[in-house]
């Protein structure tokens, strides 16, 4: 038996079991350029969500997904189940747009547009109104229950709950005419309406109030595959270690490295300092307990502790850890690009504020590319940009052309399934069909039905004209007849055309005569 040493280690009980639940993140409030853009995005996107169902168009709800009638209305467009292909194309366009913009500018979607981010932002505002900023929220959570705590927590949840319920109501309003829904609220709602209002409210409350960044880190597939679209020319939120390292507090009055003899560090030295700092955090870093240490956890590499630096050797990072405190996913951006980063730019705004106070040039953390950070030129036009861009463009054009050139008429013919053919008096053979005509337009139409067929196969009763109301589906029984010397399978074509000549459909089918 070998006497191999097995490294057994006691995991301390201070909430540090490997199965510990996530520590709560208390993002510190911050303002700045990127936060302003995020607020604008919140207002625009949520504005669309809450306002659209109330808009009217042509006497109906402008945006309505009428599931019972199987029809979607989006402003001037209406979609039928037969237009399913356009929905599928729309999803492809959305996917490709995500790829395209991710390749160029990183996770714009996550930072500005994802419903998870947007609703979390609003819930955070409400949390700040009732419980205060980061420090006060932490203190409040740690404090024993008191009248003040009960009031603050209670009003937060009351706000959240009201907002969530309104969100659920709006959501259902996309599927049921919202004015009627409002008039019947809430005691005359149907069972399913009530269920979906409550369900969507609960989902909003849970996701935006409690799960928050955990949705991005543990539930979102995009966070996991976005790296496939990233390269060194993609815009990312990046810390400049050449300028910032070695980090450390200092007295006021020292100039930025950009204005001092020290200048920028050499790349390998700078990244080594980051690596070592991550493994031997300073007291300040350890106190904010940033996650994402795995980003620099190179297996087999041992991080030596950092030496003590002279003040003149220090870089521009004063190690104030504000960038970690403002991060909604609780990571330390100084450790480099991490999949947890949702590119919200809070750390940029926070760091710029600090740099400004120190009298240093802004942009120690900045929206930049890896190449630019490493002092290399950035290429925007890359093969993948062209591929995604062209695919996206052609799909968009195809979609618009397709939607614009949809036939306003659908005609389908179903053969009678009970009998192939029927022999009737006068040596005639008959076949029965059901013709389905859908008038997709929102005005009444008249259609002429006629037949193109070989031999002397005829439409019993001859060509005829039928009326269809706006968006009406007609089901017409039709009979074709011919002499019984018509044998086997014969191709026939039903022609349906509108009287105004705007729409015409030919529907092929078969006419069967006796075999042998």
């Amino acid at each position: 038996m070998s006497s191999k040493h097995i490294p057994v280690e006691l995991v301390d009980a201070g909430g540090n079991s490997f199965y510990a639940s996530e520590r709560k993140i208390y993002p510190r409030d911050v303002s700045g350029r990127f936060q302003t853009w995020r607020k604008i995005a919140v207002v625009v996107l949520l504005g669309m969500f809450y306002v659209f169902p109330w808009l009217r168009w042509d006497g109906r709800q402008a945006v309505l997904f009428d599931l019972p009638a199987r029809k979607f209305y989006i402003f001037w467009l209406n979609f039928w189940p037969q237009d399913f292909v356009f929905l599928a194309m729309l999803l492809m366009i959305a996917g490709l747009a995500l790829f395209f913009f991710t390749t160029i500018a990183g996770r714009l979607w996550c930072g500005y547009a994802c419903p998870q981010t947007v609703w979390t932002e609003v819930f955070l505002w409400m949390e700040q109104w009732t419980e205060g900023d980061r420090g006060r929220r932490m203190k409040l959570d740690a404090a024993p229950w008191s009248r003040d705590k009960l009031l603050r927590k209670g009003s937060k949840h009351a706000l959240w709950l009201l907002f969530a319920l309104w969100t659920g109501f709006t959501f259902v309003g996309f599927f049921t005419p919202i004015t009627q829904l409002a008039a019947r609220a809430p005691f005359e709602w149907g069972g399913w309406e009530t269920f979906w209002v409550l369900f969507y409210a609960l989902a909003t409350w849970g996701n935006a109030g409690f799960l928050r960044e955990q949705v991005c880190k543990y539930m979102c597939p995009y966070a996991r595959f976005q790296s496939a679209m990233f390269d060194r020319n993609t815009l990312i939120i990046a810390y400049d270690p050449m300028r910032g390292e070695p980090r450390g507090p200092r007295k006021r009055g020292m100039d930025s490295v950009l204005e001092r003899a020290r200048g920028l560090l050499e790349q390998s030295t700078a990244y080594d300092y980051v690596f070592r700092a991550a493994h031997h955090p300073t007291a300040a870093d350890a106190a904010v307990q940033a996650r994402g240490g795995t980003a620099i956890a190179d297996v087999g590499l041992k991080a030596e502790p950092l030496p003590k630096f002279e003040t003149e050797q220090l870089g521009d990072c004063i190690d104030c850890t504000i960038c970690v405190q403002v991060c909604p996913t609780g990571i330390d951006i100084r450790n480099g690009l991490q999949y947890e980063c949702i590119a919200c730019g809070a750390c940029i705004d926070a760091c710029d504020e600090v740099m400004d106070k120190m009298g240093y040039p802004l942009g120690l953390i900045r929206y930049s590319t890896q190449n630019a950070i490493d002092g290399k030129p950035t290429r925007v036009l890359r093969p993948r940009v062209f591929v995604y861009g062209l695919l996206l463009l052609s799909l968009c054009v195809g979609w618009m052309w397709g939607v614009g050139h949809r036939s306003p008429l659908i005609a389908e013919v179903l053969r009678d399934r009970n009998a192939l053919y029927r022999v009737v008096a006068d040596d005639q053979v008959e076949n029965s069909y059901t013709l389905k005509i859908v008038n997709k337009e929102v005005k009444a139409q008249q259609y002429r039905i006629s037949l193109l067929a070989p031999h002397d196969i005829e439409l019993s009763g001859g060509s005829r004209i039928v009326d269809a109301a706006a968006e009406e589906v007609l089901t017409l029984p039709l009979t074709l007849s011919a002499d019984d010397d018509v044998e086997g399978k014969n191709k026939v074509t039903f022609v349906v055309e509108s009287i105004d000549g705007q729409a015409r459909q030919e529907v092929p089918s078969s006419f069967f005569g006796p075999v042998e």
Partner: protein
């Protein structure tokens, strides 16, 4: 004070066959059960008549298509689960160098 920056234990990546097995086998099993339950109540021919009546489909083909559609869905779900359960270290790698 616990040092949270210490890298935690990550299981090394499993072999491709283990990964494929863990994704395809449970989904195959679920698809089988789903197919049995579904077609115990739904006749593939009735399903055809209400969807694509022009296409000639036999019952056997209907069962087969049904099974593979179920498997596609369950395997997709298994794949998703696998991606979400991969540890962060597999994703947090430096950007690849430029060619």
């Amino acid at each position: 004070m616990t040092d949270f920056t210490e890298p935690r234990f990550d299981h090394p990546p499993r072999s491709m066959s283990q990964r494929l097995g863990a994704i395809l086998w449970p989904s195959f099993f679920s698809a089988g059960v789903a197919t049995m339950v579904f077609f115990a109540f739904v006749d593939p021919l009735a399903l055809r008549d209400m969807t694509f009546p022009e296409v000639s489909v036999t019952r056997e083909l209907g069962y087969t298509i049904g099974f593979f559609m179920f498997w596609l869905a369950t395997a997709g779900s298994s794949l998703f689960t696998w991606i979400l359960l991969r540890p962060a270290a597999r994703f947090n790698k430096p950007l690849p160098p430029e060619k």
